[in-house]
Amino acid sequence: MSALDPRQALAERLGIEVPAPRFDSPAQVGDLLAGVDYLPSSEIAAVTFLADRLAKPVLVEGPAGTGKTALAAAVAAATGSRLIRLQCYEGLDESKALYEWNYRKQLLRIQAGRRADETASWSDLEEDIFSDDFLLTRPLLEAITAPDPVVLLIDEVDRVEIETEALLLEILSEYQVSIPELGTVRARQIPMVFLTSNATRELSEALKRRCVFLHVGYPDPERERDIVTTRVPGIATQLATQIAQMVYSLRQLPLRKAPSVSETLDWARTLVILGHEELGPDVAAETLHVLLKYQSDIAAAHEALLSGE
């Protein structure tokens, strides 16, 4: 493995010791995540394991509400790391994502210097105001300079413009940031990086190439049942099974917006609060609006599942 080990190669480039792998096997990833109440599919566990071994970011894509962001949080919790989150939006630029010079403080420094000591040379001053003290670190820079273990989450990366994506490339492949006035800041450790995307647009080839790709779809009924039993305390197994199955059946219908896992959980909580132990047509009909958000979807669900043939 040594000749090809990407972790070792990266560690050498960064001039740090090769860190110990976070996980021993995909199965262990599954156990660790289950320990923090996140039940991964075997695919999620396998790809998380792989990303750690290859020292590559994970690009997580899938419909909203299927646990993409939760995965990063769970990995952070399971490995005892700090979660650093960069929420992407249109108009995000490097001063919000990477670093910014604190020019208010720089101005003050210049004015203070003028009063105290008229003779201070410009070059001293320049060196002074372009130093670490005047640098505001933003999430990306913070993630690589952190001394403690961190997990970096770049959320909804499909929202930034394609040009802004380029900002991410250096950090994703080399784990370093170049600051013209300071030089290159290299990572002190190799953080785990998760990028999430709702696939509202095609991400650039360059970005995809630097990541391993994970599609998180809707879970199968067994996993969804387990998620419900884990996340909703006090729910009867029978009810959880029926809920998972009902949601599965709903997702087979041509709906405008299929119910997400988080909506399943909301629904399960609602049913528990209302004191139901079993799912019947009446109960389902009364509470369907928790699960489905469009009137046309609710009508379609009634037709397909609740009206006896």
């Binding site: 493995m1 075997s42 792989l50 696939a199 509202t200 647009r201 095609e202 029926q242 019947g280």
Partner: protein
């Protein structure tokens, strides 16, 4: 080992998946970390490094089954297998026992038992003949014909997997679950058939016959029903992507005028020096769009997809009007306005639109005349007209003068022809007569071509 990977990647590229060199290297590193023996995990990590778009996953899965079907560590030979194909001569069991075992395995979701059952079924019923060049579908049909999976589904749903059947909802849930498990079993049968085929003929020969077309490359006019269903599903994410791309381009085109208030407000934090100059967001100029689509016979499916797509992204145009024709013309904008599901609208167009005036054969001349008349004065220099059709006018007069007249009054006319370019102007196709009056005439047979066209609209 790496040779097998290279050939597998070559196959992916033949399918049309973009696999770069660095992804190839990543896949090789992944193979070092996970042994090929852990099949499902192995497949996951290989997909994670090679497939960066979930719509390509089906094509990847098929190719994976072909190249890695039934392989264990050390078994990395690519050629046809040896004589290992003879069936393990188990004790003959009656069909009844056999299907009981299957129901049991399905009820317990016993994966190894299900795999064995699938292999056994293929062994027993598919009637493999060495070297016979037929595709998997033939063997699949022969195997499934014997299995009577409908009866298995029935018995499985009677087992009340989800709960006691005391109301129709739970009954339906039981049946859905049974169907899900049985369809999983069918997948295993497919897999077993592939394994046998690969054993017999070698991976590369099988790949040639099983290769999947990516949804965006399927020729819409010749798509099978399954492919059309896939296209239908591919359409929603496609239109979402397209809409956000068009919106983005519009927003980015230039910035609006200076926003004095914001600039002054921002300058306060830098002692009144306006370091950050703020602009107002630009006011987007959206084009009008008028679509005229031939919905006769063979080109209907393409018209359906295009109307579907155009209305799904109608927010990106200031106005969209749609017309359909055969030998009469009807405006169908109302169908899209009345429902928020473009699929339903397309359905209603097919059944309710009043498009047959005479014999039900397309008549482009008459359609154009009526179309121009119906549009009347409601077109401006900002209107883009989109015509979809094969220009096969059944030897009726073509009347290109109506198109010429329309051209004078609008911004541009584009003609999308779903026929291959080679067939144009043969037989009753009169596209050459219309071409001089269009901005451009394009061949448009796949979703990919359609997407390229729509995103290039100025």
């Amino acid at each position: 080992m790496f040779d097998l990977l290279s050939r597998f990647i070559a196959e992916l590229r033949r399918v049309g998946l973009p696999v770069s060199l660095s992804e190839h290297v990543d896949a090789a590193s992944a193979m070092e970390v996970i042994s090929i023996g852990e099949r499902e995990t192995f497949k996951s990590v290989l997909a994670a490094t090679l497939v960066k778009d979930s719509t390509y996953r089906d094509a990847f899965d098929t190719a994976f089954e072909v190249y890695f079907a039934g392989r264990q560590e050390g078994d990395l030979d690519l050629g046809p297998g040896g004589d290992s194909g003879t069936s393990p001569a188990g004790p003959e069991r009656s069909e009844k026992e056999w299907s009981e075992d299957l129901v049991d395995a399905l009820a317990e979701e016993n994966e190894p038992a299900l795999r064995d059952a699938a292999r056994g079924a293929v062994e027993r019923y598919a009637g493999f003949e060495r070297g016979r060049p037929v595709g998997g579908a033939y063997y699949r049909y022969r195997t499934l014909r014997h299995l009577d999976l409908d009866a298995v589904t029935e018995r499985l749903s009677a087992l009340e997997l989800i709960g006691p059947t005391d109301n129709e909802l739970v009954e339906k849930l039981n049946r859905d679950e049974a169907e899900r498990r049985v369809s999983h079993f069918e997948d295993l049968v497919d897999q077993a058939i592939l394994e046998r085929l690969v054993e017999d003929r070698g991976a590369e020969a099988v790949a040639d016959s099983t290769r999947e077309t990516l949804p965006e490359d399927v020729d819409v006019m010749h798509a099978t029903r399954d492919e059309l269903a896939d296209l239908e599903r591919a359409l929603a994410p496609l239109s979402r992507k397209l809409a956000s791309r068009l919106a983005r381009r519009r927003r980015r085109r230039r910035r609006g005028p200076l926003d004095m208030r914001h600039t002054v407000r921002a300058s306060l934090s830098t002692g009144g020096v306006p370091l950050d100059i703020k602009f107002r967001p630009p006011r987007p100029a959206k084009p009008d769009l008028v679509v005229l689509a031939d919905i006769s016979g063979s080109v209907a499916s393409f018209a359906r997809f295009t109307l579907h797509l155009v209305h799904a992204i109608s927010e990106e145009f200031s106005k969209v009007r749609s017309f359909v024709f055969v030998d009469g013309v009807d405006e169908v904008t109302r169908f899209f306005a009345e429902t928020d599901d473009p699929g339903v609208a397309a359905q209603r167009i097919a059944t309710e639109a009043d498009v047959v005036a005479f014999d039900g054969h397309s008549d482009y001349g008459r359609a154009l005349e009526r179309f121009v008349e119906m549009l009347g004065a409601d077109v401006t220099r900002r209107t883009t007209v989109l015509i979809l059709g094969d220009a096969r006018s059944n030897y009726h007069p073509a009347r290109p003068e109506f198109l010429a007249d329309l051209r004078e009054r609008v911004k541009a006319i584009y003609w999308l022809n779903p026929e291959p370019r080679g067939y144009w102007n043969s037989g009753d196709s009169v596209i050459a007569l219309y071409e001089p009056h269009c901005e451009e005439v394009l061949e448009c047979r796949t979703l990919r071509q359609l997407e390229e066209f729509v995103s290039s609209l100025p």
